[in-house]
């Protein structure tokens, strides 16, 4: 009995020692203290700027009654539809165009470099001022577009931002215009990383033009394309600027997406918890996307 007691008493000390060994690894004495000193700022920043906001957000949007209020709001329902359309069209059209254009910009010649420089300008200029410009251009009474239509063809153009579908279309087109250059550059870098030997060998075997794209280029770019698409989807889900500055969520709150609805509920309705709930309602979509993205990144790390 006595022997058993002695073992029991020594167990916590043994456990502490084992834990200390596993934490220290091969570090000894002052090295361990320095290591802790270097890690502490990172941990503090992580806790303050990552963990705390996420936990605070989850706490703010944790009341079930918020979601009942949200689902009963007719603006929420149309915002969900708008978000789905914005993601489906905005991401896929943009990525497909970027894929095609990255092939175009692979052509040799100095003029191609000049063209590429011009092409990336929409991405390079500040987005808020460009979106505001688009908003004014589409003004039905004295906007640039309708004035051109009237001057050239004596046609009264439609009031682009007064109809839900043309306004939402304007938002989606603006987003595509703004961000296609960026993703084109990424895919262009991906194409350039394909070894020349592979392309030359394929060419010798007769895989040129569309066949070369289908059998050589696209399979090698597929993972990059998928990762870019997933990243773009996550970015777009939180995008606030295009809707706010092109359509303003109008007409009559018909073109809000979840990100802008969250801001409206938080600050215009002055109910921050409801605003957080609006954004949180997208989590069931965001979390699977992040998981797929992480898995893809792991499996594609040795590929292009």
């Amino acid at each position: 009995m006595n022997g058993t007691s002695a073992v029991d008493v020594s167990r916590p000390a043994l456990r502490r020692r084992a834990l200390s060994r596993s934490l220290r690894g091969s570090l000894k004495g002052g090295e361990y203290t320095w290591a802790v000193a270097f890690v502490v700022p990172y941990v503090a920043v992580f806790l303050a700027f990552v963990a705390y906001p996420v936990v605070y957000g989850l706490w703010m949007g944790s009341d079930a009654s918020l979601y009942r209020e949200l689902f009963a709001d007719p603006i929420y329902q149309s915002s969900v539809v708008n978000t789905a359309l914005y993601l489906a069209l905005g991401v896929n059209v943009k990525m497909f165009l970027a894929l095609l254009l990255s092939g175009f910009f692979m052509r040799p010649g100095w003029w191609m470099k000049v063209l590429l420089l011009i092409f990336v300008l929409p991405w390079a200029v500040p987005q808020i001022s460009t979106f505001i410009s688009i908003h004014w251009m589409l003004n039905g009474e004295w906007g640039f577009l309708n004035n051109v239509l009237y001057t050239l063809f004596h046609v009264e153009g439609p009031h682009w931002l007064n109809n839900r579908w043309t306004a939402l279309g304007a938002v989606i087109v603006s987003h595509i215009w703004k961000w296609t250059p960026f993703w084109t550059l990424i895919l262009l870098a991906g194409r350039m990383a394909i070894p020349l030997e592979i392309r030359d060998t394929a060419r010798v075997d007769g895989a040129t033009g569309l066949r070369g794209f289908v059998h050589i280029t696209f399979p090698l770019l597929a993972n990059l394309y998928l990762i870019c698409t997933l990243l773009s989807t996550i970015f777009l889900l939180g995008d606030f600027n295009a809707v706010t500055f092109v359509s303003g969520g109008g007409p009559a709150n018909q073109t809000h997406v979840l990100a802008t609805l969250g801001i409206r509920d938080a600050f215009e309705i002055a109910n921050p918890r409801l605003g957080v709930a609006a954004v949180m309602s997208a989590l069931p979509m965001v979390i699977p996307l992040v998981i797929i993205l992480m898995r893809k990144l792991r499996t594609s790390e040795v590929q292009v």
Binding site: G30, G140, H159, N162
Partner: protein, 459 residues
Amino acid sequence: MAYLSRRSVLRGSTALAATRLLAAPHIANAAATTATVWFAQGFVQDEDVALHKAVDDYEKASGNKIELSIIPFAPLRQKIVSAITSGVVPDMMTSTPNEVLQLFAWQDKWVDVGDVVETQKAEFSETALQAAQAYNSVTKKRGVYGVPLRAAVVPCHIWRPLVEKAGLRIEDLPKTWDAYFDFFKKVQDNLRKQGERKVYGLGFQVTANGVDPANLFNAFLIAHGGQDIVTKDGKLHLDDPKVRQAAIKAAGYLGGAYRDGYVPPSAINWNDADDNNAFHAKLMVMDVDGTLSTEVAVKEKHPEWYFKDMVTHGVPGYPNDNAGKPVPSFVGVTQGMIPKGAKNVTVAKEFLKHFIQPKVIGEFVELGLGRWLPVMPSLAKSPFWQDPKDPHLRGYVQQGLLGPTIPDYYVFNLAMAEVRSQHVWSMAMIDVAKEGLKPDAAVDKAFKRNEEIFAKYKA
């Protein structure tokens, strides 16, 4: 290389704490005489200059320091919501928009400032005093949580040259409500005959953005006899046939004017400054808009517009109801509030007491070119407001300070603040204007939403 030891870390921390303690009294003394104040930015620079002068005068007189932040309207609205939610608050802020006073009073977020208001109680207008009060759902009673600083009413703004170009005269404007607004439809029809493609008769804010559409709808609701939709006891009266008829007429007229092409189509997306800009661009003949921002914005750059071309219809000019009786005007009152958790309530209260002295508050609105109204009737008699050379100020002050006025409905029931922010009346106007709904169906839909919102705010 020196190693960090547990003892050295402890020694360093102790030294740091000791330094902080030694410095603390000095920091505390500075804090005792400093108050942080958030104020909404003016539409014209003169308003901000006037505010700075009032603050400078206070600092000189008291020896205290005011850390003033002047913030544009929409960002200030967001800052206030964020501050109250997080608890990191300034010592004083202005109601931006006005209904935040009632909204956060409900949640017991303001310090009672009855003692501040008491110092000038005899001077304030009845409407300003009513607007300073709000119901607190924690203490279960109404309290004084705001200090009236300035006010605004909704007059009509008209381009004289456009009326004359249409072959009509401002002096021929009818005096009763519907006929008054119908007049501008005639102006538009005449201008169209002269080939004016893009000038509209009426600048109605048939939109679901900003504070303007609710002011517009309420003006029409009251003019058609729906003033008692919410009574002073906070009760909602949607079952009153007079209220229902007034709401139907208001939604029908405003939405119908848009549907029939008498309102600029882009109005459906306007925010608060857009109707001012559209008016300055002469996109419409008239605008119904709160404050004199439209006029004072051009006073320096286009004095001929201010003194000759623009007409403000306050009193006289503002139309009577269809039976010929004067229509009370809705008055919005900007309040100064002190949030709970403020570090320096004493200085904030002292500053407010200084600010609401008739001389100070009168000079504040006058230096701001009179965009805002004073909240004390005695100040309306000043040479500034009664200047016979100024074509706008006398009518504006008569309408908003001396004529019949009422505070907004959210003063009596907070639910009306949410009716405003949810743009329930805007949706009724838009349902008629764009969705093809009959006015009575649009109003029934809006009434249902009103009832849902009121159910959330049972006292």
